[in-house]
């Protein structure tokens, strides 16, 4: 599947396109098919995302998982600071990245 990611303009937070708006959680990301450019152009112009781009991902029972490790780290947070990730209470969250 193709999903969209970028950063919030004001905060820089990593965001994912959920079909309606930008979510902080990659599990909300939806397949945009071949509409990536159209959505990104519209959302960028409306200042709702900064530096947006499309990536490959897979969806399985555990949710949406970006293909590349860089985007998985973006989705979770730094593997070396679990306390600063989106799942600070989950000690195994880092294994999802690797």
């Amino acid at each position: 599947m193709k999903i969209l990611t970028g950063n919030d303009l004001k905060t820089g937070a990593v965001t994912w396109w959920d079909g309606v708006q930008w979510s902080l959680h990659v599990e909300d990301a939806v397949d945009v098919g071949n509409h990536a450019d159209t959505i990104l152009a519209r959302e960028t112009a409306a200042l709702r995302v900064n530096g947006g781009y499309a990536i490959d991902a897979v969806k399985d029972a555990e949710g949406v998982r970006p293909d590349h490790i860089k985007d998985r780290i973006r989705a979770l947070g730094p593997t070396v600071r679990p306390d600063l990730t989106l799942k600070p209470a989950d000690p195994d969250a880092g294994s999802w990245v690797i």
Binding site: N7, L9, K10, T11, L47, K70, P78, T79, V80, L84
Partner: protein, 544 residues
């Protein structure tokens, strides 16, 4: 240390307001990302993996307790309670919000700090020996010249729109603690046969994807002519730079392609043009700057003797302190490399503590090192035990300076958009593997440097053992390099062979270390043994 005059302060304050307006226009949509990006980079603001990252300049690594407290305040108020000291003697924050950036720069300006030229195609933060002004082996304090160069290169248009970034270092000791020859332009203060002070000049060094060690292009340059000479160097580079190819724009490429002699000839030719223009720093202006670097009021008659009966304290003194030029004083290094920690990271509380300790024991002065540690430069030896106890209580008393666990590592793929692999976990695994201090001491000096991509922010080319993280079909892979050095016998590390996964590279590194222990001669450091024996034996040990 240097204090802003009204002109410095006015320029920095104006720059804050200029950036505040630029940020407002970006947030309101009057500037596109393409338009705004070069403006924010001029102010040290990057967009990294998780958020904006702000890199704050610490000129030649010198700052004071007041500035450290402000850095702690920023970490606590605008970031997530910590900062990261970099390999360019700067500090960076990883979780900055764009909307806060102008306020942060405003806060920095109140303590004479800024983030100008910590990014972009400009003269970057001028680096220097972290022991400057304290080292027993220096000819003079190199910081007045580093500060003079900072003043003439900050804001000057010709130095702000260069073909690529440009890095300068200044030292004044025979021992190189600043990786001098890995810089684009480097000055070593020397004394000539007539006893005059001048610069030995090096040009064309740099790491990155195409590493080169700088060549000496002049044996002796009178100090008062340095601005003309620097202009000449930049003029030659500007004239020939490959602006059509980002990978060939650094000055090191030009020096390599022209050749050292031809580059130096053209510089001398340009120098002859600039010198008569009278643009060099007048002696009175140098004296004004130098006055700020007058040594602190050291006490006379302090004893060199201290009680070393506590083995842990004795080990810390032996490893972390260095001879000071003033009798009864020592230079105290503070390790930011606890085993299992993140190299260069420091919490806001630790920053405040270091500021307090600097006030109590080091005339308020602090230094940041390119090896991502801190220094209290002027500590009375009789205060070392109290200092050590307080550092130990805060987790800052590791006795591992220049040992196998004192690892330089870039932020890597955990934070950086450019990275191909994570650096920090590899550093942590190595430090855990060699955690035993007795084993570290037995191994002796061994500088490990890890970069998460070919941009080499972790200085892997200069590592006695270097590690380069690469992306191999979407998987992290690590190349091992041997034989690099950033000291006065600068050398470039060479790749050993095929790469390893994260666990494999730690094992391979350990095999290299054990080979060294098996074949070393008495007194040899790792780098000495490598230079004596070469790569082959190490390679056999690594790829068993």
């Amino acid at each position: 240390m240097y204090k802003y005059d009204q002109y410095d302060q006015a320029m920095v304050d104006a720059r804050v307001e200029e950036f505040r307006d630029q940020t407002r226009r970006r947030i309101e949509g009057h500037l596109t990302d393409d338009q705004f990006k070069p403006l924010r980079l001029k102010n040290g603001l990057y967009l990294q993996l998780h958020a904006y990252m702000l890199r704050v300049s610490i000129p030649y690594g010198t700052f004071d307790s007041r500035q450290m407290r402000k850095l702690a305040h920023i970490a606590r108020t605008y970031d997530r309670g910590y900062g990261h000291f970099t390999t360019r003697q700067n500090i960076q924050y990883n979780w900055i919000k764009l909307q806060d950036a102008p306020d942060i720069l405003g806060e920095l300006a109140t303590v004479e700090m800024h983030a100008i030229q910590t990014s972009g195609e400009s003269v970057r933060n001028v680096s220097a020996d972290q022991y400057a002004g304290a080292a027993a082996d220096e000819i003079m304090d190199p910081r007045p010249w580093a500060e003079a160069i900072r003043q003439i290169t900050n804001f000057m248009p010709e130095f702000s729109y260069l073909p690529r970034k440009f890095k300068i270092a200044v030292i004044a000791s025979p021992v190189d603690r600043a990786a001098l020859r890995w810089h684009d332009f480097a000055l070593r203060i020397v004394r000539n046969d007539a006893g005059e002070i001048g610069f030995e000049v090096y040009a064309g060094g740099g790491m990155g994807r195409t590493p080169f060690i700088a060549h000496k292009i002049r044996d002796f340059l009178p100090t008062g002519q340095v601005f003309s000479y620097l202009q000449a160097v930049l003029r030659v580079w500007n004239r020939h730079a490959r602006r059509d190819n980002i990978h060939k724009q650094r000055m090191k490429i030009l020096v390599h392609e022209l050749g050292q002699e031809e580059f130096a000839r053209q510089v001398e030719e340009a120098f002859e043009h600039f010198l008569p223009l009278g643009q060099d720093i007048p002696p009175a202006e140098y004296d004004r700057i130098a006055a700020y670097f007058t040594p602190p009021p050291f006490l006379d008659g302090l004893s060199e003797e201290i009680d070393l009966s506590d083995p842990a304290f004795a080990a810390w003194v032996r490893r972390q302190t260095v001879a000071h030029k003033a009798p009864g004083y020592a230079i105290a290094n503070i390790s930011l490399k606890p085993v299992g920690g993140i190299p260069g990271d420091i919490s806001a509380d630790q920053m405040d503590l270091v500021a307090d300790l600097a006030d109590r024991f080091s005339f308020g002065e602090i230094r940041a090192t390119h090896a991502q540690n801190l220094v209290l430069p002027h500590v009375a030896r009789q205060d070392l035990h109290t200092l050590w106890q307080e550092l130990r209580a805060a987790g800052l008393a590791d006795a591992n300076l220049d040992l196998v666990t004192d690892i330089i590592a870039c932020p890597g793929l955990d934070y950086c958009t450019l990275a191909n692999a994570r650096s920090i976990p590899v550093a942590q695994r190595i430090a855990e593997r060699f955690a035993d201090l007795e084993r570290q001491e037995d191994i002796g000096e061994l500088k490990i440097k890890i970069s998460g991509c070919i941009n080499a922010c972790g200085h892997h080319h200069a590592g006695n053992i270097g590690i380069l993280g690469v992306d191999r079909k979407g998987t992290e892979n690590y190349q091992l390099l041997l034989g690099g050095s950033g000291d006065e016998e600068t050398s470039q590390a060479k790749i050993t062979g095929p790469g390893f996964d994260e666990e494999g590279v730690v094992d391979a590194l350990e095999r290299a270390v054990e080979h060294y222990r098996a074949v070393r001669e008495p007194g040899e450091r790792f780098i000495d043994t490598y230079r004596r024996l070469g790569m082959d034996g190490f390679k056999e040990a690594i790829y068993v």
